[in-house]
Amino acid sequence: MNALELHDLQVQGPSGPIVTRMDLTLQPGRTVALVGESGSGKSMTAKAMTGLLPRGVTATGTLVLGDTRVSLADGPSALAPLRGRRLALLLQNPFTSLSPVHRCGMQIAAALPADQRTDTEIARRLDEVDLPARVAQQYPFELSGGMRQRVALAASLAADPQVLIGDEPTTALDVTTQREVLDLLARIQRERSMALLLITHDLGVARERADRILVMYAGRMLEEGPGDTVFTTPRHPYTAGLRDSEPPLEDRLERLPAIAGSVPRAWDVPVGCVFAPRCSRADDHCRTADPVLEGDPTRRVACWKPLADDEAVLVPQVAAASPDAADTAGALVSVRGLTRRFTADAPPALDDVSIVVRPGEAVGIVGESGSGKTTLARCLVGLERADTGTIEWARATDDARRAQIVFQDPTSALNPSMTIGASLAEALRAGGRDRDEVPALLQLVGLPVEYAQRRPSGLSGGEQQRVAIARAIAPRPELLICDEPVSSLDVSVQAQILNLMNDLREQLDLTVLFITHDLAVVRQVVHRVYVMHRGRVVESGVMDDLLRAPQHDYTRQLFASVPGRSAS
């Protein structure tokens, strides 16, 4: 018997349909992954299933939870009694999903059965998600993203739901934590034979964790199949495209084969196959007739010209070597003995950190959440003052062209009251450039030009992040600092952005300080890396060497936990 069935879900937004003809089935103890690019309607699907759609967005369809059957048209109230115990939702953005003024412990306890709201229980729950008991007394703003998300996970598990919907639950987490969290999820799933709907853009995660995978695009389901075969032998060209965009850890590709173009808005999708405009195989029939999802229950695809097995194999063009080490001239910026301590009780965020970035170089900083990466970045751009240590710049004048930063959290990184165009124009002017580069800039980051007139609130996460990147590169800074720039993006966008990074480096001989937790990603961009752990730099060196022979055992652990290749 199924834990959850969703039939013919339609989500209607104020300006048109957001999700169309969606159905899915979850079995107890099983994991279904829902993958798709940003704006494809994953979150809306999740919100619809939990009756948490934002104002002005409505849903129709039927939800069957065990023995209860709910018509989504009846509105949120119908689902209220089911939330928590029957199904829970873990949201995408750990930065906003916890109340800023309540202690984490309290927020976890709230969902616990009244009789269990004890410190020991809370401590146990925190321990379950590998957090120290002290976190119960801390406030979310004191924690780094990863820590917050684990608090959130503990909170959503508090009422022991039968079905858990994770909306990109590990997006903000670094690999080691991600693996831990996913393992944790899997364990809990087993213990409670809980069904898990895992919304993610990380194909590695999907492939590794899911029994079944659903591929969504522009509010439609394009392909459904077993976790192990969907990506090895994709039927839908889009699925294949996604797989190919995914960066490999082993080698550095000349160029990631990203899917061209960008996602159509869910409501102005073309007639015929929604993917046709971006599809290399599309013909007139594809552009006129809308294919329906068909095939045997285990393997369904919505395509007029599905791929045959032989067409589906991946042929990567491996690059000669990693990007040439830059001329070892004077450093663009050199950091010495940087230390920053926020609270007397907690360990320092930065502990005697020294790094050097030379012109033209792409330097990576990898490390788990809370290791001080963001703090370091903030110190570099002057948003944070270090307690001790020095930062020396080659560029004397401290202006917009010295360094720019792309933040981790796209949703609040843009001025809500300014149009995208205005934000970009401003950034351009800050770098002494001309405002009519705005359209070019938008295209550069793979956004339709019309977006110049939009405001951030109308964009999905990924779209917002592209704008943020566009703004950062607008002044053509000597150093571009990217703090987890792709951690909330889906693969095809990620691929585009990584390609973009490399393009930008060549075109503008841009120097990049690339902060991420994703080794595969950093692999594609950088030449050297620094590995940070608990605010210290534990290891550094050329990427290839490091991959071949990691010295520090934390580094080894890091590599081991990259998703996609099972921990064996």
């Binding site: 919100k47 928590g84 829970a88 939702l89 949201l91 800023p100 003024v101 709230a110």
Partner: protein
Amino acid sequence: MSVLARGSLGRYVAVRLAATLLLLLALSFIVFGLLHLTPGDPARNLLGPKNPSPEALEAIRAKYHLDEPFLRQYFLWLGNVLHGDFGTSIRSDVPVTTLLAERIWLTFQLAGLSFAITVLVGVPLGIAAAWRAGSALDRSVSVASIVGVGAPSYAVGLMLLYVFGVWLDIFPVYGSGDGGLDTLWHLVLPAITLAFGIGALVFKLTRTAVLGELQQDYVAFAYSRGLAQRQVRGLVLRNALIPVATSLGLVFGFLFGGTILVEVTFALAGIGNLLASSVTFKDIPVVQAITLLTALVIALTALTVDLLYYAVDPRVRKRGLQ
């Protein structure tokens, strides 16, 4: 580390109180100056529209040092104040302290009661309305609040008087009763009158704040975890309280300083009433005392607000109050 250590709460409060004292000093000088600039002569006012005899005028001026030069008058006054003597009312020949004693208390009760009404009605209604945004309740209360802001307080007062004082004959029509509960009873209508406009404002602010919080992700997340309405409300209110609390601080100051109309309408012997007449009479000692008192109350409420901020917002607590 001592109470007055840098960044400590104790030090903060100490600094604020010191600043308040300076404020009062400045204020006292300004008011004293302004009063001097206004036309009119207290001695003359004492005699009324009669043929004033120079001797009498002289005698009065001498009695209240009105014949001294301006600065000297001010410092005479200041000196006495520092010795706890606020002088004697020119108009009634009564020591200012005794004159103010029970009036302050009355005005304080009035402001307090109407503050209570404002908060106990405005805030819960604001919450309820935001919670059921667009509901009949929301619509009706919003309309009421909209009218409330616009209604001139004396018009409201007289209307209430007519309805509750005369028609229904529930509440007394005028005066402040004879102490204790009776006084509170007498103050109900005035307090409502006073609370009317500002209550509407508080309602709107609360509604806005709560609505804003309800849009936040953490609310959706809380619901998704199956939290009860009550619990979610708990989360939201704590967050919404922060902007609301600041406004409430202002509200009390506003009420305390704005009782004049109501006191006149309801014939209440409060400081508002006294101030209005003393200002025109140029009864300098009284005006000074009331002004400083009002200023003090307002400054203290402002301080309380900041402390409240400190109490409810951990981010502020982390940063520490500057």
